[in-house]
């Protein structure tokens, strides 16, 4: 059985956010929810400042606290290492959100894509209403741009009252495709593969560079690894001074 993991090469990542847009399109992610996200930080004191960008997603931890805490096994591990969620079993207690140290699980506080159910035209007498648009283009199913492929392993649009998060695009993996964020990355900064294949691309990178994972001290064994970091800066050799 494969054990899937992702390596994110921070030297290649340009922080364009294409991964997040691709994820949103592929998984019909509603407003306010981010399966693919980022942590940004401005470090230093002006004028010596620097901007840092770290792409984030569900870490598909081998020892996932969200899975341990879920009372109904809605959050569960697949044999291939993916942390999967079953909205049918989810009672909406949000204990997984409380338990996740990486803050990558979101709750559907209201019906998804609510904007597209609004029967009021954007411009009275000038345009159709969002509801009409969704009805015409996508049979009223969520938003007009909804991807039906997502519906193979999860509801195409997750309902109000349950959580949702990244699934490593399990529906694409099932048909031999890589996650869509990886596919869409213009810089090839995301590398996806099987840790159980000694010669896989991910294993080669993990052996070549010194990888790190987020909050490793917690022992959750994340399966998203980061390598290298982008920093073109240089400085004159010095011992400092007092």
């Amino acid at each position: 059985m494969p054990k899937y993991a992702m390596v994110i090469d921070l030297q290649r990542c340009v922080g364009c956010g294409a991964c997040s847009i691709a994820c949103r399109n592929e998984n019909n992610v509603p407003d306010g929810i981010y399966w693919s996200n980022k942590i940004t930080e401005t470090a230093g004191t002006f004028p010596n400042v620097r901007f840092h960008y770290l792409p984030t997603l569900c870490n598909h931890c081998s020892d996932a606290p969200c899975v341990e805490g879920c009372p109904t096994k809605a959050m569960h591990k697949l044999d291939n290492g993916i942390t999967m969620h079953d909205p049918d079993k989810c009672i909406g207690c949000r204990y997984c959100q409380y338990n996740c140290p990486y803050e990558v699980i979101y709750f559907n506080w209201q019906d998804p894509h609510k904007f597209w159910r609004n029967p009021k035209p954007v411009i009275e007498g000038g345009t159709s209403s969002p509801k009409e648009m969704a009805q015409t283009v996508n049979n009223g199913n969520g938003a007009p741009y909804s991807n039906p492929g997502r519906g193979k392993t999860l509801p195409e649009n997750r309902p109000k009252g349950v959580v949702e998060k990244c699934t490593f695009c399990d529906h694409r993996i099932k048909v031999g495709e890589i996650p869509y964020c990886v596919e869409a990355c213009p810089a090839d900064a995301r590398i996806f593969g099987d840790l159980d294949k000694p010669d896989s691309k991910v294993n080669r990178l993990l052996g070549k560079f010194k990888p790190y994972r987020l909050k490793e001290r917690l022992g959750t064994e994340p399966n998203v690894y980061y390598i290298r970091s982008f920093n073109p800066a240089h400085y004159q050799r010095t011992k400092g001074g007092i």
């Binding site: 207690c93 140290p101 349950v162």
Partner: protein, 371 residues
């Protein structure tokens, strides 16, 4: 005149329950949980704090009702039946809060069909289900010799398990060290016991007042005894409260304690400390106040108000500091003020409690004690 007052009282409580039903409709079927001041940062807020408050009070009431039946201290028998019925009424209030917190309560049957034995939340759900059954059974069999004692012991064990499992539930995530399971497994039962003593004093003395039943000499001694015990438990709670403040609020340097440090300057924290602990402790230490009915009632009411604020402060302490990607574009600490719908969750839970209790008080002879 009395009948009108009773009808008005029932009307008021039914209005509270109706408001709860409207809230349930609005959040579960209508607009959604955006009606609450919850976000993906503040995933648990007032409804959960209210649940913790009521469920621990119910467990604490089991400790109080076990005093005569399990530990054989007979002078507590006059309050045994009322306390046991209060446990049930308060537990209904806790379930009301939980129902209005869950995103999809209609699927709770998966607790049985897809159980996760590693989850504290699963155990807590099961234990509270069991607790309700045991409470109903033990109330039915109350004062019936051997069965009563056996059920009393079992109730006490389940109550200890529920209140300590709640500590496990909060303390599970290593990422939120501000909730220490070791600490909460002691603090929760203790404060539950304190809340229960306050509730027993409040409801028993209210019974004497409203039913116009004068306090007998034995009653007076019992309530004075309860008042002293209440004072002792409050003092112990204050000690724990202060140590929690020192360890997590001023000594700890870990980033994860930032939320608690922030909450130390919140109104909820100070309400819990001053109104909920310092003032009632001072009141109870004065014999003239402690022995007066109004003194005990005021101290008990203040303690319950402070305890509720403390539950909310505790829940928020682990959540107000956004971290990771959810901190993007957020201030270092998010603020919280309940919406009217969240307040209605508490109001409806209180209405359920008082409605069930009033029915019991009027129909089940709660002052009854064995011969």
């Amino acid at each position: 005149m009395k009948a009108i007052k009773i009808q008005l009282w029932y009307g008021l409580l039914l209005l509270g329950i109706l408001l709860g039903l409207i809230t349930a409709y609005r959040v579960l079927i209508g607009t959604g949980f955006v009606l609450y001041a919850k976000t993906d940062i503040l995933v648990w807020t007032m409804p959960i704090a209210a649940y913790v408050f009521f469920s621990l009070t119910s467990s604490g009431l089991a400790f109080v009702s076990s005093i005569p039946v399990v530990f054989g201290i007979k002078r507590y028998q006059p309050i045994e039946k009322r306390t046991a019925f209060l446990e049930i009424a308060v537990l209904f209030a806790a379930f009301t809060c939980l129902l209005l917190h869950l995103g999809s309560p209609q699927k709770v049957y998966y607790y049985l069909f897809s159980p996760n034995l590693a989850s504290p939340l699963w155990w807590l759900g099961m234990l509270y289900g069991l607790y309700l059954i045991v409470l109903l059974l033990s109330f039915r069999k109350m004062h019936k010799a051997q069965v009563s004692k056996g059920l009393g012991v079992f109730t006490l064990i389940v109550a200890i398990a529920t209140s300590t499992a709640l500590g496990w539930l909060f303390g599970l995530p290593d990422a939120r060290p501000v909730f220490s399971a070791n600490f909460l497994a002691m603090y929760f039962p203790l404060t539950g016991f304190g809340s229960a003593l306050a509730a027993v004093l409040l409801f028993s003395l209210a019974y004497h007042h409203f039913a116009k039943v004068p306090l007998s000499g034995g009653d007076r001694n019992l309530y004075e005894d309860l008042g002293k015990l209440f004072g002792f438990v409050m003092a112990l709670t204050l000690v724990f409260f202060l140590w929690r403040t020192i360890v997590g609020g001023t000594s700890a340097t870990a980033v994860e304690f930032g939320g608690f440090r922030h909450m130390l300057s919140s109104g909820w924290y100070h309400l819990a400390l001053w109104v909920g602990l310092v003032i009632p402790i001072l009141m109870i230490t004065m014999p003239a106040v402690r022995n007066a009915t109004w003194g005990k009632i005021t101290a008990a009411a203040l303690f319950l108000v402070g305890m509720f604020a403390g539950r909310l402060e505790m829940v928020l302490s682990g959540l107000v500091m956004p971290t990771g990607p959810k901190a993007e574009g957020q201030p270092p600490f998010v603020s919280y003020w309940p919406t009217i719908w969240e307040v209605l969750v508490f109001v409806s839970a209180l209405a359920v409690l008082l409605f069930v209790y009033t029915l019991g008080e009027r129909n089940l002879k709660l002052s009854e004690a064995p011969e």
